[in-house]
Symmetry: C3
Subunit: 359 residues, 3 copies
């Protein structure tokens, strides 16, 4: 209930006056697989402007987004059989960043190359490795996310740009008590039930797990629109924080019909994937997918769930960007913690520790 | 006719390179009463972001615009019987800035509060006290402005945001000779009559009074639209500068029918209230009302006068913002004074003195 | 083929972190004659905000764009018989910058004046002299450009504003090999023919001349739209770089019918004038005209050529502004030269030398 020193430090660190860095030796989300088709994609990740594209064999490549000749962004170039061609004087680069053609010139100087980055596609997500100096190459495989390849679920998603630093998005996702105030129109439900729900917080190995159960509560609009509940429901919210992303499994069953803590529970499910990748110290990319288990009209139900999810995430964006803008206006003032902040504060502590271990 | 040192200093002070401060121990206009209804209003006054709202008993309150929990602007919250509720996690604050509820939590920590400010509503104007360290509490009552409650006049008004420091608005209002160049379409009239009008400037007790009479002159478009003048008119302009606002009483009677200097004169009246409150060192709020004494079709006449006033004040805004932008482009260069600058220069001297006495 | 030191230095100089200056003792383009009619024109040239206007006798004048009284831009004033009148309090300035009237005031103080600049109109172009301290007055006549007054050609033009420093526009114009990648829709033609065209580069007296011939090549869309070519063509590109502007004479004749290097050649001509005047260290004005020699339907042909030219120059603007923005994102990183950069690098060396000789 008081402002802990650790918390104050964490908030100080993301104030605009003192530059934060990011945890390194991590796989971050660079893109959703669906974003990479026949055009190069320019995107800044962890303050590094890069171009992402598929080579002719379908592999994803990531290069520094700057032609080595006259600095045009390669992301404004065009994809060809042999790679990515710059849109100014036509230099051609392969997926490793090597220049393989300079039009009208036979010899290609050895300096003619751009920096490549380590990317890996898995379960419909494109991951990028940001290593410390000690670990420029990955020390592990990118995270699996089998919800995307599991036949039980349908999913869709999108990428949002945030004018706010990444940890404010973590805070928001780790504390779903805001649903009762911010998301009344969609997934909210009764505010006091949210605020009074029992919350269990555990953390091991840089993962924080927050579980909340709201038994015998009114199903919110999104739930009743997607599933034929009979009346009140037992709701669960299971939030899993990983350094570069969160997995949030929420849902409900008819009241008193099933054990809500059993992973094999039925009822209505919403499984969210939330990749939070810093763009810069003050801006972020938010990659999300939402999966559901439609029991009828699968495509219609998915569309309904996505439509509601978009409304919900739009509301979060408004709140978080307003919050950050106000933090900038007021400078690094202390914040008063309340009961719902436990999970978010643990996540901040983990990021603090990794950042310092990367020094 | 020459650039006095005092004047140069004053202009230097509002150049963007050297930060000006504002006179303290003053009542400034925070809002027009009509702005505060059923929603909180976020507004930055003297570089202080605050939220203004009415409590359930109709009193106006002003608080720091930042929830003490996670810094969301309270101005994006909602008004309830007991106060203002934050739109993120639902903390509730009363008009004194005390947190009176944290949803889901019994104990409210003593730190859970936000700074309140001293506000007072009088004659349809909401005033805020900005005191020096020596005078955090008001040393006097807020100014009266009985034109707003006097049955003889009807009035309406608006709030303009200026990308210019407050003293440029004072300059503009204290020198109505610009009417002949800037406001030909509305209240201007003949430029040379304006420029050659006799001007009397007096100052006592931090008030500057500028009086100009333009006898036997053509009535300008706004005047003839609102009043059945028979031909030429005797016009008066009485400008009263106070540190935080100006009162400008202009009008005309048929030529040679009345003493224009008599406060009981008849004819057509326009009585302007002009609250000029710094938002920041380089931007301002301009709160204005215009009152008139309709002799027929009161509502129609008021609408006509307000419509013309809006046109006029829009023209001033264009000129003043262009002037400030140009001052920024050129830096703190000296300015050459001319005869019409006497009143404005006295006002600048008063502000200079108060600012230094507040140090 | 390697990054020469001189080249690296040049690029460093225009990076946003190290302020570049401009060559002095030059005539720069201030305006096209067609821009100056009955209104004053505000324009910043070499970081100097000025107002350009015609006096009653048709002469062009240029003054500091700031009234000496209260700093309003004079460019928002109005033109009268005796000069330019400020739009705030009506001070009137003649073409020499002298205040000739202060409304309502008899004596005009000697300080009441604004700085005049040296301008000269020639061949439909308004030139302005920017001299070093040693040469405040012109040391030569402004450049002649008789294409504008030669009956053989029709021309039209426009002024573009660039968010990029001036030398990036020089680079672009001195290397027409980019036509094959950037301008395929208009004047491009086959990319590899452009890249493989023989190029001759000469320089004398601060002028760089680049000549390229593309014999027996397919005429690009703009050419076939404007001229009845029978099939393939012999194309020429003659680029002449002067410190403040470029002259580019391109065109084509039916293959094997004429000597393309003969200035008296027939066929289809496009003669471009390209005035590149720094606005600030990071932004530029690009004044262009395009002249052609219509063999039928003169006005229709001119319109077609101008329409195509606009498309082409719009494409260049997109590329150059993206290039500069990317240079800013990546900071002053070295660039790798290729074969087509010879002409542009010579121009950069000339500018470097003049800049240092002006110190």
């Amino acid at each position: 209930m008081t402002t802990s020193n650790a918390q104050s430090m964490a908030y100080e660190a993301i104030s605009p006056t003192k530059a934060p860095s990011f945890p390194l030796d991590q796989w971050y989300v660079a893109a959703l697989s669906s974003e990479l088709k026949d055009k190069p994609l320019g995107r800044t990740l962890l303050s590094t402007p890069m171009v992402l594209f598929r080579t002719a064999d379908g592999q994803v490549a990531a290069l520094e987004d700057r032609c080595c000749h006259r600095a045009l962004p390669l992301s404004s170039g065009t994809l060809e059989e042999r790679g990515l061609r710059c849109g100014y004087h036509g230099l051609l680069f392969n997926g490793d960043g090597k220049c393989v053609e300079i039009p009208g010139q036979e010899k290609i100087p050895s300096k003619a190359k751009v920096t490549p980055y380590v990317v890996c596609e898995r379960d419909q997500i494109v991951w990028i490795w940001f290593g410390s100096q000690a670990h420029p190459q990955p020390t592990c495989a990118p995270p699996a996310y089998d919800v995307h390849s599991n036949g039980k679920y349908l999913f869709d998603g999108d990428v949002y740009h945030y004018n706010a630093p990444y940890q404010l998005i973590h805070d928001n996702l780790l504390d779903l008590s805001h649903l009762g105030y911010v998301h009344l129109r969609t997934i909210g439900g009764n505010a006091s039930i949210h605020m009074n729900a029992q919350m269990k917080v555990e953390s091991t190995d840089n993962v924080v797990r927050v579980v909340r159960h709201m038994l015998n509560s009114t199903p919110p609009p999104t739930y009743t629109a997607a599933y034929p509940f009979k009346g009140n429901v037992d709701r669960w919210q299971e939030i899993e924080f990983h350094v570069s992303h969160l997995r949030i499994w929420t849902g409900a069953v008819d009241v008193n019909t099933e054990a809500v803590e059993d992973p094999e529970r039925g009822g209505f499910h919403m499984r969210g994937f939330h990749g939070v990748t810093p763009e810069t110290e003050t801006t972020s990319h938010y990659f999300w997918t939402m999966a559901t288990n439609p029991i009828r009209d699968p495509q219609t139900t998915l569309e309904k769930v996505i439509e509601q999810t978009v409304l919900t995430f739009d509301e979060d964006k408004v709140v978080i960007e307003a919050q950050y803008q106000n933090m900038c206006r007021f400078g690094g003032r202390p914040m008063v913690d309340i009961h719902v902040d436990v999970g978010a504060n643990r996540a901040r502590k983990i990021i603090e520790q990794i950042r310092h271990s990367n020094c």
